[in-house]
Point group: C2
Chain length 351, copies 2
């Protein structure tokens, strides 16, 4: 059985370990962390703790290294691991910049190793439900996709608040939400406009609002915030013939579709509390239908899917599905977002 070594044994690495305990294709052998307290946690979890990252990388039994440190050392650790003959799965964001990622990609080529990234949210049920609904044509031609993740507790203190360590919500959550959309859409992003906010921390974005325009004109609105006391829906999608809303990760939601797109407009005005309006008069109920959405029970959303694919690629069974090339596109969108904030401009791209 393949053996995994983990560098950086924080919360997310412990989550990997927990999910890999019963996994048949790989065994977690040992860990290394700069923090002695985290090494203690690893010991309690029954794992070997190495004295240094070099010791871990020198262990010939280790086939794969999980890089789960703070973001600023993803690049060097990934390259060192591949140079030591290991395949690598790296936590997201893959690196701090596209330049760093290029170096990682060169190393993967040079040492002929498989390199993947834990962009595990492609199997999130809410995302799959939205994607399937759109692809089934239930909404007609889709022109807006809104994707939001909102918390109310501010950012966790610690490294996420420090720019040099790769903190901020764009790198933490943006990387997932952008990856989902670019994985779904089979066309380039041509325009990036972004607003970022520093509500509690001056260094990093604790909230952002990103507008990505795809080549066909479809607009994706991606928002992550840590200071929202009333949340928007997780997904909101506009198509020419219907609208989709999915409330949350539990997948409660609905689609409302139009049944008589061609009906003649009636010359009627409605009188609302805010005055008369013709444009915003409600539809007759018989001209729409509602489809109730719920959790897609056939979708398996587990981090082991990412490992399955990594091992398939190592063993030559299937090509890698989460690739550095894909991560590069996400990274370039994030870089365009930071550039947009700095210049207060929309950035024309072809990503």
């Amino acid at each position: 059985m393949l053996k995994l070594g983990i560098i950086g044994y924080g919360g997310i690495a412990a989550y990997h370990y927990k999910n890999l305990k019963k996994y048949k294709r790989l065994k977690v052998k040992g860990i290394y962390d700069l923090n002695p307290l985290r090494l203690e946690v690893g010991k309690k979890d029954g794992l070997i703790t190495y004295a240094s990252k070099e010791a871990l990388l020198a262990d010939p039994e280790i086939d794969i290294v999980l890089v789960a440190t703070t973001n600023e050392v993803h690049k060097e650790l990934s390259i060192e691991a591949m140079a030591a003959g290991k395949h690598v799965i790296c936590e997201k964001p893959v690196t701090m910049s596209s330049k760093e990622l290029e170096a990682v990609m060169e190393a993967a080529k040079k040492y002929n190793k498989v390199f993947t990234i834990n962009q595990n949210r492609r199997t999130n049920k809410d995302f799959v439900l939205m994607k399937r609904s759109v692809e089934a044509g239930l909404l007609g031609d889709v022109y807006v996709i809104e994707s939001r993740v909102e918390g109310s507790r501010g950012m966790p203190k610690g490294w996420r608040t420090i720019k040099a360590l790769g903190g901020g919500m764009m790198f933490d959550w943006g990387v997932h939400l952008i990856d989902q959309l670019m994985y779904m859409m089979d066309e380039p992003v041509v325009n990036v406009f972004c607003k970022m906010y520093n509500i509690e921390y001056p260094e990093v974005d604790d909230n952002f609002r990103l507008t990505m325009t795809f080549e066909s004109g479809l607009t994706a609105q991606v928002e992550v915030s840590t200071n929202n006391y009333i949340t928007h829906p997780r997904w909101y999608v506009l198509g020419t013939h219907g609208t989709l809303r999915i409330e949350d990760w539990d997948c409660d939601g609905k689609i409302v579709r139009c049944l008589d797109k061609e009906s003649v407009w009636e010359d009627e005005i409605v009188y609302t509390k805010a005055g008369p309006t013709k444009t915003m008069a409600p539809r007759r109920p018989e001209t729409i239908e509602t489809i109730i959405l719920s959790e897609p029970m056939d979708v398996e959303d587990s981090i082991t899917k990412v490992y399955d694919n990594l091992i398939d690629a190592i063993e030559g069974i299937k090509p890698l599905t989460i690739t550095a090339e894909q991560a590069m596109r996400v990274m370039r969108v994030m870089e365009a977002a930071f550039e947009s904030v700095e210049k207060q401009q929309a950035i024309q791209v072809k990503i």
Copy 2:
């Protein structure tokens, strides 16, 4: 009593008339419309119908002219009316461009007439409720205001679908929503980014999404659409200490506020259907409070408020509150929005 003549007797003019029937300070005397069918409607309403706009403007009894035609002739009719010695109330959008509005402003000065615009939505109850909540400091420092009006019936056919007549949702509803925000905010707009969509009509925006950034960094997101089968809330406002949501024109809504902004982050991870998250862990209920919002019963929202102010200004009682200068700012934001769409750029402004 002052007497009003109406040029352009469509749906909105009939609405003015209906609201002015019992109004004490002004009497509607007569109308002119190019369309004989609308003249018939005016006759049935008991109004004098003039044979031409010149005849209406030549009537010495007419003190004020309401310009309620399609938008492309607002400028010339307003100027002609003032040249004929009439004060003018013009429907929104005031003109087709800032250049046209300049000409109107010059005419008002030259002929020394009062010119106002029916930006009546400043007294809409939902808007007043939002504005009061923000100004009372209930949300802390506000950094995002989202204002949306969404219909599902497409645009009304007719002139609203024709660019040359001033059609499209930016001119129809955008002008109101932008006016509300600029009336509320005591600072310039510095950045305008806009996306427009042509879902049913190729010529004009039947949907738009506008991001206005004010000098302090506050972002206003203004969206109007005619193809949304599931609506967003009418208002959604983010402050450092709370969030406001008002559902609709009936003013149902709430504020959720934070009571322990300074509490220490607990090192806990929640496991959602979509995996673990520390950042998006929910707050403990005792750290927030909810304030239920409802219709502010003391607010009088009537078109007669606009006439009150116009007549006060004519009679020298009070200065005009809906001025051409304000309409010019709104017009310049709308022009920046169109420029943004054309260039696919954010437009730096100081408006």
